[in-house]
Symmetry: D3
Subunit: 277 residues, 6 copies
C-alpha cells in the first residue's frame, strides 16, 4: 500500500475486506490541507481498484475527526489566486479552478464504487461536514459534535455540504444549521438523520462500525456496489427515469453467480460466499 | 366486482366509499407472484374508475403483510430470460422488459387518482417495501417489521424502493437501510417517517386506518385527488414549475360545486356532502 | 418606513439590524387579504434593499399567527373570475393569472436576499402554512398549531405548501398532512422538521428568535446572503451542477473584506465587524 | 392479424419484416376519430410484440395522410365533459382525463420498441402533425402539405406537437408555425428538418420508404431498438446522465450473437443474418 | 399611452390590435442604455395588460435595429460596482444584482402573454441579439446583419443569447457564432433558423410583418397566448411533463366561447370574431 | 511536449497559440485504439494547462480523419470482459466500467477550457463521429464523408453521438442517421449544421481552419473560455438557471484587464493584446 502524508490506510484484520482510511494529522486536528486534497482521491481510487477491498471506513486519528479546512491552505489559495496577477478576472478564474479541484477530491467518495462509511468522534467541523456528507453512511460516538462553521469564517461553504446535506436532513434543517453555524451533538445529528447511530465511546464506535462494515462486506459485492450506484443516480432523476435505469442495470447484472450463490445458501441455510469484485 | 387469484376486494360497509384491497395469499405470506403483477394494476384501475370508491386501503391477509417477491417468480423470470436463447443480448433485453412490466404494476398505485393507504402488520420485506413506498400514506401495527432485503439475495432492488424511499426517509437513511438490509420495527419506521402512525394491534390498525380513510372519503373528491396529483408532480419539478402547474390546475378545478358546498357547509356548521368522482 | 394596511414593520432596537415584519390584522386573525398580497412583496423588497436590515422576522399580531386566506378574498377572486364574462376559457385564464400573482407574493420571501425567519404562535392554518414554508427558518411557541386546511375547503392548496413542504418534512409527511388536513401541534412540527425549535411561550419565542436573529445578523452579510442563495439553488439542480454553481459564486465573492475581518477577528479572539450590504 | 375500423395492417411482402400501418378512413380524409385513439395503441402494441415485425411504416389511405382530429370527436368530447354535470370542476377533471388518454394513444409510437416511420402524402394537418412528430423518421411526397392548424380552431394543440416539434425543427420554428398556423410544403418541411427526404410522388414515396425500411430491417434488431430507446432517453437527460445510461445499456446488450454475426459477416464480406426480437 | 425616453409605442391603425414597440434612440443606433432596461419591461407589461393589444412588433427607428449595449452603460455599471467600495466581494455582489436586473428586462418579453415579433433591419449586434432571441418570432430585411459581438469586448454574453440561441439554431451553431463573433447576413440568419423570413427592404419588412401580425391578431387570443405559454414551458420540461401540462391547461381553457365561435365560423365559412383578452 | 503513440501535437507557428492535435495512426486510418483512449485525455489536459495554448485543432494524419473504433480494441474489450470469469454479472460490471472510461476520454474535449475545433477530411465514421460531436466547432473538406456506423456493427453507439448529436442537428436527424447508418457528404453535414463550413480541399481546410482558430486565439482568453463554459452549462439547465449562472460567472470575471484592453483598443482602433490564461 502506498504511503501518504495526510492519510493512513489500515487493514486491521488480514482476512477482512474492510479497510480503514484514517485522516492522519492529529497534531492539526486532521485539518484538511492542500496535500489532503491531492492524496485523498488517490487513496480512494486505489482502494476502489483493489479487489481485496469491500468496504471503506473513514475515521480520524487523535482526539477529533476533522477540524475543517486548514487555515493555511485557505491563505495559500487566497495568495495564489492573487499572486503575480492583479487582474480580477484571471484571479477569479484561477480561484474557481482551485475550488473545483478541491470539490472533486471530496466527490471522489461518490466515484468509489464501494461503500464508504464515516466513523466520527470529537469535532467534525466545516470541511469535515463536507467530507462526511459525501460518505454513504455516517456513525458517531457520543462525544462527537458538528458545526457547519463556514459562515463564521465569512465563507459560503463550497465543498459539498450545501449540495448534499438537504437530501440527508431536509432542506429546512440544512438552512438553519448553515445560517446559524451552531454546534450540535451526536444525539442531535442522529435525530436529524445525519448519522445512523450514536455509539457510547470512540472504541464502541470503532468496534460497532467495523461490525456493520463486516456485515456489508459479507454480502454480494455486485449487489452492494450496484445499490450504491443506483441510489446515487436516483438522487437526481425522476422516479420514472430511475426505474428505467435500474431495470437496465439489472438486465445486465441481475443474473450472476452471486444470485445463484445467495439463493442456494438461503435454501441450505448456510452463509453465502461471493467472489471479489 | 371481479375475482382475483392473489387479491381480494372488500367493501366492509355498503354505505362507505372506502374499499379494501387485500393481498390474499396468506399461505405464501402474500409473496408477490407473477399473477400478482398482472392482477394488481387491473384491480387498482377498476377501483379508480368505480365512482363508488373514494379511498383504497391495501392490507395483507394472514399473519404478515408481504414477504417480498416470490422466489418461484424470480426463478421463472431467470429461466424465461435465458430459455431457448443462449444469446446474452436477447436474454438481457427480455429481462429488462420483464422488470419494467413488474415495475409498472407497482407504479399503478400512483396512476390511481384516489388515495391509496397501506396498512401494514407483520412482515413487510423486499418487494413489500417497494409496494408500500408507492402508496400515498402508510400505517402499521406494533408487530410490523421491515427490511429492504434485496441485497441479501444478491439483487439490486428494482421495483421502486431505491427511487421512492429517499424522498420519504431521506437519502442517507435510504442508503443505510438498503446496504445493511437490516430489519427495523414499526416504531423505527415511524421515527424515519416511513409510516405515519403505529397502532397497538392488527385490529387497532384496521379500525384506525379505516377511520382515517373515512375522514378523507368525506372530503371533496376533487380536492383530494387533485392534492395527490399535484404532490406527485411536485416531486419531480422545480418549485417555480410546480407553482405554475398548480395555478393551471386550479384555473380548471378551483371553481366547483365542491367549493360552494364546502363554504356553505362551513358557514352553516354542517357536514358537507360532495358528489362522487 | 412606509405604512401598510395589513403589515407593520418594527425595529425593536435602533442599534440592531433585525427587523420585524408583523402580520397586523389581529381582528381577522391575520387572515391573508387581497391587500396583503399586494403589500407583502413590497414590504419585503424594501427591507431587502435597506442596508440597515440584516435579518427579517415574520410574526403575527394578536392571538394567532395566521388563520389562512381570507374567505372574502376567495369570494372576490371567484366573483372576479366569472364577473361580466360567462366564457369559461376567459374566466379560467383570469383565475390563473390571479393565482400566479398571489403565489408571487409568497415567493417574494425567497427573492429577498436576507434571511427571513418565521416566529409562529397560535394558529398557522392554510395560507399561513404556505407563507411559513417559504421562509428560511421557522420557530414556534408551544401553543402553536398547524393545519394544511385547504382540502377541507374543497381546494387544492396553491400558494406553495405542496411545492415546498416535501423538501422540508419529506414527501410522505407532506402527503399525509395534506390529505387529512389534520391539526398538529408545535411539538409535532418540531419532530417533523417543520420548525427548528419550540419555545415555551409567545414571549419566550419573541426573545429566543430575536436572539437567534441577532446571532445571524452579527455574521458576514456576504456569507449569510450567499449561503441562502446557494442553498435555494441547490434545491433544484443536481449535486454536480450545485457544486459548479457555488465554485463560480465563490470565485466572485470568497475573497472579500469580510473574509479578512473574520480571520483577523478569530486570530485576535475579538468579535468581527462587517460592513452593511 | 386483428381487424380495425380505422386502421389496416398490411405486410406487402411475406418474406419481409416491414409492416404497414395504414390510416384507413379515406372518406373522412383519415381524420382521427375516437375509435382511432382506442385502436391505434392496440395495433402498435401487437406489432411490437410480433417477432415477425422489424419496422413499421405509417401511411394514409386515399388522397391525404391525415386531416387532423375529427370534428365530431371534438364535439363528443365537449359534450361528454359537460354532459349530466353542470359542475365546472368535475367537467374539467373529466376533460383532462380524456385529453390524457388521447395523448397516450399518440405516445404509443414511442413505447413501441421498433422504429416507426411516417410516409406522408397530401394533407398532414393538426392532429396529423401530432402523430408524425411522435414517429421516429418522417418522409413525404412532393404533394404533401402541413399545417399546425389547432390555433385556427381556437385550440392550444394538446396531442404532442408543442412538446415534440421543438426538438425536431428548433424552438423558434415551432413557435412561428404554431402561432401562424400557416400551411407549408413538403420542400419546406425538408428544409426545416421535419421530414428527412421528399419523394416525387406517392408511389415513389411508398417504394422509397419501403426500401429504407427494408434497410433498417436487415440490421441487428437489438442494435436498432436499442438505438431508438437510447436516443429517446437522451432527449430528456443531461449528456452525463445519457452517457451513463448507454454504458449501462451496453453492459447488458453489447455482447450478443448479433455482434458476432455482424463482425463475422463484415470480415467475410457477406450479408449478416440476425435472429428476430 | 405613457411616454418613454428610449421607446415609442405606435398603433398604426386604430382598428388594429397590432402595436409597435420601437427602439427609439436612432442617434445612438438604438444602443441599449440603462434607461432602456427600466422602460422596456414597463412598456411590455402595459401592452400585456391592455386588452386592445393582441400582438406586439419590436423594431428599431433609424438605420439600424440595435447596435448592442451602450458602452456608457457598461462603464457606468463598472464604475458603480467598484464605486466607494474597494471590497471585491461586495463589488461582485452588486454587479451580479445589476446583471440580473438587466436580464429580467429582456426576459419581460417571455412574461408578456401576447406574441412579440422582432422586425430587424440593419445592425443587430450584441445586446440586440440577446433581445431578439427572447422574442417569439423574428423577421428581417435583406440589409440586416447580426453579430454575437460580446467576445470581442472581452465579455461573456450575459443577457440571454447563450441561453436562448441554442434552442433556436442548435447548440453547435450557437457555439461557432459566439466564439468567432463573426458577422452574418439576414440570409444566413434565415438558413440558421434565427429569422423566419427575409424581406427585400425595410418597408417590405414593415408591411410583411404587420400583415403576419394581423393574421395572428385575428385568431383566438386564448389560443394564441396559450400556445405561447405552453411552448415556453415545453422548452424546459420532459415530453411527458409537457403533455401533462397542456392537458391540464386545456382542461381549463379548451371549452370557451372562442372554440364555439371558431367552429361555427368554419362551418358557415365566415371569419370568426373573438372577444379581447 | 510529450510524445504519444497515437497522437502528435504540432505548433506550426512558434508565435501562434494555435496548437494541432493530430490523430496519428494513418496506416490504420486513425482507428481509435485502446492506447488512444489513454493518451487523448492526457494530451488535452496538458494543452489545457499550457498557457501558450489558446485554441486546439484536431485533425487526422493521412487520407482520412478517423475510421472509427479499432476492431481489435473491440475484441480486446469483449475478451477482457469475459476473460477468466464466466459470471455474467461481473462481466457486465467490468464492461460497463470499460465503456465509461472510454466515454471519459471523449468527454475530455468538453473538460478542456480552451476551444477545440475539428478539421475533418476523408472518412469520419462511427467513433470518429463520437469524437467530433464533442468538439466545439467542426469544419470539413469537400471529400469528407460521415456515417454513424455503429448499428451496422450491431452496436448501440455508446461514446457520445447519441447524447450530443441531437443538440447539434436536431433530434429527428439524429434518429434518422443513427438508424440508417447511411453515409453523408460534407455538404449534407453543412446543411444539417454538423459542420460550420465546407472547404474545397484538405489544404484549404487546414489553412481556413487555422485562420479561424487564429481569429479566436486573438480574442480575450477569459471571454473565450468563459463563453465555452457557459454554453456547455446552458445545454442542461433551464433558461432561468442559465441566466442566473452567467450572471454569477460575470460577477466574478466581467471586470478584468481584458475588458479594459478591449475597450481601449476599440476606442484607439488598434488590435487588443491579452495576457495568457
Amino acid at each position: 500500500m502506498e504511503s501518504y502524508k495526510t492519510l493512513e490506510i489500515v487493514r486491521k484484520n488480514p482476512d477482512s475486506s474492510v479497510f480503514h482510511l484514517i485522516l492522519n494529522r492529529p497534531a492539526h486536528l486532521n485539518a484538511l490541507s492542500l496535500d489532503f486534497f491531492v492524496e485523498f482521491p488517490k487513496a480512494l481510487s486505489s482502494l476502489d481498484q483493489n479487489p481485496d477491498v469491500s468496504v471503506i471506513i473513514i475515521s480520524g486519528a487523535g482526539k477529533h475527526f476533522c477540524s475543517g479546512i486548514d487555515l493555511s491552505s485557505l491563505s495559500s489559495i487566497k495568495a495564489q489566486s492573487s499572486s503575480g496577477n492583479s487582474d480580477r478576472g484571471r484571479s477569479s478564474e484561477l480561484l474557481r479552478r482551485k475550488i473545483k479541484s478541491m470539490q472533486a477530491a471530496i466527490t471522489a467518495v461518490e466515484l468509489c464504487r464501494k461503500p464508504v462509511i464515516a466513523a466520527i468522534h470529537g469535532a467534525c467541523i466545516g470541511g469535515g461536514v463536507d467530507l462526511v456528507t459525501a460518505c454513504d453512511i455516517r456513525y458517531c460516538s457520543e462525544d462527537a459534535f458538528f458545526s457547519i462553521k463556514e459562515v463564521d469564517l465569512a465563507i459560503v461553504a463550497d465543498l459539498g455540504t450545501l449540495q448534499r446535506l438537504p437530501s440527508i436532513v431536509g432542506y429546512a434543517n440544512a438552512m438553519e444549521y448553515s445560517l446559524t453555524a451552531r454546534r450540535f451533538s451526536g444525539g442531535e445529528a442522529k435525530e436529524l438523520g445525519l448519522v445512523s447511530r450514536v455509539f457510547g465511546s470512540k472504541s464502541d464506535l470503532d468496534n460497532g462500525v467495523t461490525m456493520i462494515a463486516e456485515g456489508i462486506a459479507a454480502k454480494s459485492p455486485l449487489a452492494v456496489t450496484g445499490t450504491k450506484a443506483v441510489l446515487l443516480r436516483s438522487r437526481e432523476v425522476s422516479v420514472e427515469q430511475g426505474l428505467d435505469y435500474v431495470a437496465t442495470w439489472n438486465s445486465a447484472m441481475l443474473i450472476s453467480d452471486d444470485l445463484n450463490e445467495a439463493v442456494s445458501a438461503q435454501m441450505k441455510k448456510r452463509k453465502p460466499r461471493f467472489a471479489k469484485l
